[in-house]
């Protein structure tokens, strides 16, 4: 029996069927992506717990959670001893439960940066003197971690130095990052939003990465890093309308110190290809998104 040729209605039906399934697949994909975005881990809390757990079994301790007073006495605010999280700075506050003795060390959060990714975790501890057989005091240890542009940059710079490989970091420069920059210029306009220009400079001060002003004086809380660095300066336009400017920072191992704000200004022959060639780490920004002046 000869086959009946396909009618227009059949073809239309097949097309509708395919279209419905196409929409279904796209809908499912969107749903999965949305759920994935919603299922974030609390990375700041995770970092705080990791730092706290590390401190409790570090060189400062004699058995898990029993901290040695003489070790704690060696450090003050500004040091980050015993533990280090790459992109989060930590501050430890340790107190005996009677409140008579306390210790503080680590990196202070940047004042005024309320929106910085921050988390605090508390840990029960015991305290003893070196050589003492028994725990002498009960106490609490509070770990506060915070992530700012400066801690993130210190992380990528150290990673670039340790691995000898270029490291990049996506970041949205917002109002909060003005803590690491100097206001350079404001151009008012009747028709459009005002244009704000910032000078952002980073430099090493006594082995610590700091945001500095035009005279090289620190204007931010600094963080100790284990990487040589020749300095960085960029003047950029802040996108007021978008309330932030997306950009990519890069830490590049180089053969000689080079001060170039734009990554494209760093010549290929200066970029170190092996750890032996590397002399320092250069910091730069991708000027495709950020308007560099």
């Amino acid at each position: 029996m000869a086959e009946t040729p396909l009618m227009f209605g059949d073809v239309l039906f097949q097309l509708v069927r395919m279209l419905v399934f196409l929409i279904f697949v796209i809908g499912m994909a969107v749903a999965f992506v949305t759920i994935f975005r919603a299922s974030e881990l609390d990375y700041a809390a995770k970092a705080a717990r990791e730092v706290g757990e590390t401190l409790m079994v570090s060189g400062a301790s004699d058995g898990r959670g029993v901290l040695v007073i003489e070790e704690l006495n060696k450090y003050k605010i500004g040091d980050e001893p015993f533990a280090r999280h790459c992109s989060y700075g930590y501050k430890a506050t340790i107190k005996t439960t009677d409140g008579k003795q306390s210790w503080e060390f680590g990196m202070e959060p940047q004042p005024g940066m309320d929106n910085a990714l921050k988390a605090t975790e508390k840990f029960p501890i015991g305290l003893k003197h070196a050589g003492s057989e028994y725990v002498e005091y009960t106490g609490k240890m509070e770990i506060t971690v915070h992530e700012t542009l400066l801690t993130q940059l210190s992380c990528v710079m150290e990673m670039a130095y340790e691995t000898g490989v270029r490291q990049t970091m996506r970041h949205t420069l917002t109002n909060q990052d003005a803590h690491f920059a100097e206001l350079s210029d404001v151009k008012s306009s009747m028709l459009t939003a005002s244009s704000i220009y910032y000078d952002m400079r980073f430099a090493l001060k006594n082995g610590k990465l700091c945001a500095v002003d035009g005279k090289g004086e620190p204007i931010s809380i600094c963080r100790k890093i284990n990487a040589p660095f020749g300095g960085f300066h960029v003047k950029y336009k802040y996108d007021v309308k978008a309330a932030g400017s997306d950009t990519t920072f890069a830490a590049i191992p180089v053969k000689e110190p080079i001060n170039a704000a734009r990554c494209s200004d760093i010549p290929n022959d200066v970029v170190a290809t092996t750890n032996d060639e590397m002399k320092t780490v250069a910091l730069c920004v991708d000027d495709k998104e950020l308007e560099i002046v």
Binding site: F13, A31, T34, A38, D42, R49, V66, P124, T138
Partner: protein
């Protein structure tokens, strides 16, 4: 075309199913925009969070193992020393128990934990237990120390340990002055105990039904609010016993463990052919 009718029918069915699925997904996505939505993204965020309670018991156990709790005679002793002594002798004298309970309370209360419990078990069963929220009692530590309910409420006798629980003779594992040692029993045993202990307060013949509540039926619907020795858990008791037992109380710490609110640090004990475990159970 042969078979086309069947193909057409099932295709229509599948298309309808796909459209309904899409509609549900869209409604769910729209729903997440509203605060009253039962499956918002915020819920998913908290679902993958860290439960702090898991590491605290290990730290507390470590601190206690280096803490000189001492004894009534002035000797130096840590919790580990006490645990081994109890394991080897199978028990602890009352004076030492009272001393250790007071000393542990003194140390652990400083950490302001909402829940703590320290116990030693051997292969034969529990040997010793000290706790804040749950203080075990009775010859085999089968009961929990509880504040009395007073016997009768609204003319209905519920017993001194409230509905579904009865007093037991704690012998040497007592709870101290004015505190009862109560254990959970079946409804038949509970009614029998009530009949055998009429009490001084006149009460009607009516008895409360023993109704289990909460996850895994770990609680009992009780007359009094969950007090010392009891953990308040979510359970539908509102209409049980004509609304006279609206509180769901449990004496089983597993309800807190399963909720991630408390955790155990277990320290194995081996000595002279005997083995046991020292368990430090705390909240965060």
């Amino acid at each position: 075309m042969k078979g086309f009718a069947t193909s057409y029918f099932w295709t229509v069915v599948v298309v309808i199913v796909a459209l309904v699925a899409l509609l549900i997904i869209m409604l769910m996505m729209i729903c997440t925009l509203f605060p009253f939505c039962p499956f918002g993204p915020a819920q998913a965020v908290y679902a993958i969070n860290y439960v702090d309670a898991y590491n605290t018991p290990y730290t507390i156990a470590s601190v206690l193992s280096q803490y000189n709790l001492g004894d009534a005679k002035g000797n130096e002793k840590t919790l580990i020393d006490y645990a081994y002594e109890t394991l080897l002798t199978g028990d602890m004298n009352v004076a030492d128990k009272e001393y250790l309970a007071a000393k542990l309370k003194d140390v652990l209360d400083k950490y302001k934990l909402s829940y703590y419990e320290v116990f030693v078990t051997s292969s034969d069963g529990p040997l010793l237990q000290f706790g804040k929220t749950l203080q075990k009692c009775g010859p085999k530590l089968e009961g929990t120390c509880t504040v009395t309910t007073g016997g009768a409420v609204d003319g209905i006798r519920v017993g001194t340990c409230d509905v579904g629980r009865t007093e037991i003779n704690a012998i040497e594992n007592g709870c101290g002055f004015g505190i009862l040692c109560c254990t959970t029993v079946s409804q038949d045993k509970y009614y029998k105990w009530l009949d055998e202990h009429p009490g001084s307060v006149p009460a009607a013949e009516q008895k409360m039904a023993v109704v289990k509540c909460g996850a895994d039926e770990a609680g009992i619907c009780t007359r009094s609010e969950c007090d010392f020795g009891e953990i308040s858990i979510a359970g539908n008791c509102k209409y049980v016993n004509d609304g006279k037992t609206p509180n769901c109380c449990s004496t089983n710490p597993d309800v807190l463990k399963n909720a991630g609110k408390i955790a155990d640090a277990e320290i194995p004990l081996f000595y002279g052919g005997k083995d046991g475990t020292l368990v430090v159970r705390t909240s965060d």
